[in-house]
Each structure stands twice: as structure tokens, then as C-alpha cells.
Amino acid sequence: MPSNKHIPFRENIPAYVLGALNAGEISALEAHLETCVPCQGEVAAYRTLSDDLLMALPPKNPSAALRRRLQSKLPSARRPLRQSMKWSLGRFAVASVLVVLLLLDGFAAYQMQSLQNQQAQLSHQLQAQQTALALLSYPGVQVVSINSNGITGTLLVDDDRNAIALFAWNLPSLPADRTYQVWLIDSQEQRVNLGMFRPDPALPFTSFSVISSNPIANFVGIGVTVEPSGGSSHPTGPRLFRVGF
């Protein structure tokens, strides 16, 4: 390479090793260095000088706290924290399992309670239906149709056994603090409690059956009213329907 073209690159080498060239100058010089062995030697010589410049300062010790800070960042110093985290994770896992088991236990208890309720309801319905079937199969049973206030159904009355079975459709659902109460009605319009029931939301009809402790023959009909839960000694709420025998 002619010396007059070589010189500008060579003059930039001291600034190059100090990192004082801009990007364009660096690119040009490095392209030149790829083919210029003398300049490569110059770079190596000045690089040694710049490396030595890094060491051309008298030592200055940092504070003792810096060593402690560094030590605190090493794995051995962080290990107790990790162990603590492991313990915490272990405890968390155990706690999680306990919570899950408690939830499952509670859920199982809830399911058990629900099943018991359903069993009681089904048992009650089965009893009512068996009573109704028994009544239907008995020759002296009176069958009374119900069609009142949009409610339809059938009332089976057995005077001989003082048994009554009621099948009603389209009964309105009730708030939790209310129940339907059935009254026997005599010729003097006196009411005698016959029992209570609530419609089953899972079924399109409601059944109610009972063996009366009073002779059915002494009464002329039944009425159904809405009463507070637990029932009333006499009708207090709105009447759902009334039907005569």
C-alpha cells in the first residue's frame, strides 16, 4: 500500500486502542487492518499500552462493607433463604393439601346431607304414591277432581281408613319461610289440621297423603292455605284451593 494512503489509518491507531474513534472511523480502520500487517503490529503495540493504562492507577480499597455485600450474594449466604423457601413451600403444600381435604370433606358432607334430604323426599313421595295406589285399588275410594285457581289435580278419599291422598299440579313455589297446610273442613266450616307439605321443584306435581286421626266421614271437604313454616293452629294465610267430598 502506498505510504500516503497508509498514514491516515496509522495516525488513528492510538485513538482506536483508546476507544476514541467514531463508528465510521472504526469501520474504515478495521477494513484497512485486514490487509495491512504493519498496522496490525502497531495496533498490538498500542493495545499493550492501553491495557497497561488500565493498571496505571494506585490501588484504592473499597469499604469493608462491599466485601460483606458480595459475600451475601454468594450461594452459601443465600442457602438458608432457599431452605426457608423450601420449608415454606413444603408447609404451603401441606396446608394446601389440608385445605383441599377439608373442602372435599365438607363437600362430601354436603353431598351426604343432600342425598339424605333427597332420600327423605323420595321416601315421602313413594309413601304418598303407594298410598294413592292402594287407595285407587280399593273399591270404596272417592275420587275428587281439583280445578281451582289454575291448579289441577286429584283427591282420593277413603272414609273407611280415614286416608287421604292428594295429587296437585302447577302448585306455586313457596318462599323458604312458608308451607302449604291442609285442613279438614266440617259442616260448620271448622278447620282441623291435617298436615303440611311443600311442592317439590324437581317434580311437575306434588303429592300428599295422610291417615287422619279424625274420622273423615265427619268432614265435608279439605282446604289448603299458605302458612308460616311449622304450620298454624288455624288458617291465617291465603287459600290455595278448597274442594268438597
Partner: protein
């Protein structure tokens, strides 16, 4: 541990030996901190840069190769980059004066009669100090402040050509003094 060679200690650090790491810290913290303090001119920032440098030693010791240079040079190169990055992040103004006291430096310098590495930097330190103010300024601004020649010209209010000439002359003088 303190008698082991740098390369051997670095190898142990690469394998997670904390005692080796602390031995290297004790050996070179003063040298690293001197550089970061010179660049950042702030004790707190300099300690952070020194800490970051040694954390890089801890995490990257496996990449050190003794064939390419000394461990101290490797650490100082890392420290310079860390400190210059921090300097740019802080957007700090360049510092033009060397705050180190030559008399204090003498007290800290090990045996100067040997041909050890310490002797080399002791000689170079005084070679830098013997430069004219203009020559020392351009060296300091370029190497310890990370400024380009254009930025040095702007900082000092000198023509760019003057900066280039003085920087080249300063390096040539150091080279002559160093080889003398």
C-alpha cells in the same frame, strides 16, 4: 488459597469455589476499585461498579482464558466497561482532574525494584503523570471517560484536529517512555 496463581483460582471460581472468589477479591479489589473510582469519581457508584465487576467474575469465570492475558487485565477490562456504562447511564459530566495524590500513590505501591506487574503499572502511572496537562487530559477523557475525539473536542473547546494531534502525540510519548 492466597498463594495460588490467578488462573488456578479463576478455575476454582468457575467451579463455584467461594473461597477462591474471595481470595481474588482480596487480591484485586483495590485495583478494580481504583479504576471504577477514577472513571465515576463517586465512591458509592464506584463501589457498585466494583461489585458488579466481581459478580461478573463469579458468573463468568469459566470464560477467562489465561492464554489471552492476565486475570487482572481481564477484570480491569470488565470494570472499565461496567463503569463507562454506568457513567453513560448517569449522564455524568467528564472529570478532567486526576484526584489521586502522587505521594499517596507512592505509599500504596509495592516493591518498585522488581520487574513484577506492579512495577510496570507504577512506571506507567508516573509516565502518565509526567505528560503535559493537555496530553494527559485527552488520554483521560478518551480512556477513563469513554469520550470520542469529537466529544473531547466539544468538551475542551478545541478543534478536532488539535485533539487528534495531541492524543496521538500523548500516546507516542507514553510508548517511548514505556519502552525506554
Amino acid at each position: 488459597m492466597s498463594n495460588l496463581e490467578d488462573a488456578e483460582l479463576a478455575g476454582q471460581v468457575a467451579r463455584g469455589n467461594e473461597k477462591a472468589f474471595l481470595a481474588l477479591y482480596d487480591r484485586y479489589a483495590g485495583r478494580i476499585h481504583a479504576l471504577t473510582l477514577r472513571i465515576l469519581n463517586d465512591p458509592m457508584l464506584a463501589e457498585e461498579a466494583t461489585q458488579d465487576t466481581f459478580l461478573k467474575l463469579w458468573s463468568r469465570a469459566h470464560s477467562f482464558s489465561a492464554e489471552r492475558g492476565s486475570l487482572l487485565l481481564w477484570l480491569l477490562t470488565i470494570a472499565r466497561h461496567v463503569a463507562l456504562d454506568r457513567l453513560r447511564l448517569e449522564a455524568r459530566r467528564p472529570t478532567l482532574s486526576d484526584s489521586s495524590d502522587p505521594e499517596e500513590a507512592w505509599q500504596n505501591i509495592p516493591d518498585g525494584n522488581s520487574l513484577t506487574e506492579e512495577h510496570r503499572w507504577r512506571s506507567l502511572y508516573f509516565a502518565v503523570q509526567s505528560l503535559s496537562t493537555e496530553h494527559r487530559q485527552v488520554i483521560e477523557l478518551a480512556y477513563y471517560q469513554g469520550l470520542s475525539q469529537s466529544e473531547i473536542a466539544e468538551t475542551l473547546g478545541w478543534p478536532l484536529g488539535t485533539v487528534k494531534t495531541r492524543l496521538r502525540a500523548a500516546m507516542e510519548q507514553l510508548r517511548r517512555d514505556w519502552n525506554r
